[in-house]
Symmetry: C2
Subunit: 345 residues, 2 copies
Amino acid sequence: MEPPASPRRVTIVDVARHAQVSTTAVSKVLRNAYGASPEMRAKVRRAIEELGYRPLAAARGLRGRTYTIGVMLPDIRNPFFPEILDGITGCLEDTDYQVLMGPGGNGEKAEARVTEAMIDRGMDGLILVAPVSPRTHLSHVASAVPTVVVGRHGHSPAYDTVGDDDVAGAALVVGHLAELGHRRIAHIEHHETDPTRIAEMPNAQRAGGYRQAMRDLGLDEEIDVISTSYTQQGGYEGAKELLARRRRPTAVFAGADIVAMGVLEAVSEAGLSVPGDLSVAGYDNTTFAALGQISLTSVDQAGGEIGRNAARLLLERIEHRGKPSVQVKLSPTLVVRRTTAPPSA
Amino acid sequence: MEPPASPRRVTIVDVARHAQVSTTAVSKVLRNAYGASPEMRAKVRRAIEELGYRPLAAARGLRGRTYTIGVMLPDIRNPFFPEILDGITGCLEDTDYQVLMGPGGNGEKAEARVTEAMIDRGMDGLILVAPVSPRTHLSHVASAVPTVVVGRHGHSPAYDTVGDDDVAGAALVVGHLAELGHRRIAHIEHHETDPTRIAEMPNAQRAGGYRQAMRDLGLDEEIDVISTSYTQQGGYEGAKELLARRRRPTAVFAGADIVAMGVLEAVSEAGLSVPGDLSVAGYDNTTFAALGQISLTSVDQAGGEIGRNAARLLLERIEHRGKPSVQVKLSPTLVVRRTTAPPSA
DNA sequence: GTGAAAGCGCTAACAT
DNA sequence: ATGTTAGCGCTTTCAC
């Protein structure tokens, strides 16, 4: 017995024949293009229905568009991305566009592979989430296909950007802690080595925002930044170092929730308690932060809003490739939970 | 000033001309097909290099393959999926295939949309992760394109399956708790309503495995299953109910880590402690479980292995569409952490 | 071993 | 408003 040799796909020609019209007519109806009478539309629609016809995106792409939007995700593990994605798909679900995601997560090389793969597949537009590639590559991509960059500071005339105001987010945390009475507020940052990238990455902005906020509050003397990495391990090591200070901070602003998790671990290992001995705040308001057992004060980026804006801008750019680039900056909010409280001393 | 009207893409014709050969020759080199001398290969390779040529996948797809594998993910939030994905991409990164993911996560309708979109885009093969669609739809998809189904029990001649032995996983948990001295071991399951789906979903298998393991240990009398859902809320409510029993269980096996998180919350709210008053175990060994502050005993599914197997089977099926279907079942392992201990009573 | 030519399914120009 | 025709960039017969 043969495998049921998948019956030939229904094509636009079949539809045209069945509806007794030209393929052009069918194509016009498919694209809602000008030049088809209501009766024609109805006739074609019925034929499509009856035959169960679905256009082949690859073939469409050869002349027109593929109705496909590519989203490059740097690390699917980051609990912040699903919200962005929901925002994007939500904005696109009533259109003919389909979202497909590519795994970017392993540095410049992997990002280049994914972006090229998306371009080679004729995607109509790309949304790059928190890319680490150099600007030149981003511009190169944007010159080949409409592009929106999310979660990275730094403009370009070639692509739109959507992001969160990380400086404002850092200020929210510092302000909250200062209001509680803290003065010795330390910060654990992700150490960025690449000089060209340094100003564009959110981590650098958060660290800068921290310094600025401290100065604005007259706490210049208390500025204390530990450079590790945005990992649990980084938080753990950073906290170890801070707890060993002769003059311990009373609060720690971790640049990311996952860093805060490492801090919590180090604190409990040192036999100290949160927020009794140390207040801890994170960034991103991830699922971790919301867990009852953790209940971490954190900065919430409006992920859904970011995604929706990115999708909207991309659609606009697909329609008008030459339009001037737009930068959207959204305001984060602070979610206060149980890891922050007035200092005990 | 005009937008730099993206310079026409380099095509196979350009390469052929530049190398002074036919397009057929170039095509053969691209596909490592038979019928090209070493000199020809070298010449063509050089031309490709010099012109920076990359074949357009969409155009290739019209006649041959698109070199694209589609992976449908039900819920990007589930911390179990990244490992599967890593396994898949790892297995495919030395091939010409590119992985693109589609968001399935909102029920049958969303799954149908994504799978159709992938078929319409000419994908060469599909990996469906934990689909909720009815079997008929899965078979329909598999008849159109080579398919591997991951994380769902139930066979079909049309597609291969890769999964974890959930019955064995449940037995690991029950065995571990019994060994610690527990007898009153309760289980919180995800309530499945759809009768046709019931036996194929992992949650049902885990519940069944729990019952079986209890019986095997002579604990028939102690079998105690609460039906809620695989959510934090479900765990919270289930635990509330269990804690209100006149004869409280001394241990709870939650069908998923997220459920265990809800249980932990309810326990701490009741003023009780884990594992002092109640041992708690989860399933999936998610990032949550590993957090120092949580340290949840959990069952680890070999995600990477699952992904690698799925990718391997898919490649085989792409080469031999008619081959008999294969079922791979992997063994989970138990990761013991601090939420399980001998009962105090 | 090599290349000319005919499509793949669709859209875009160009008639009518 | 409708249909005819020529491609899009590639792979695949099928000659040589």
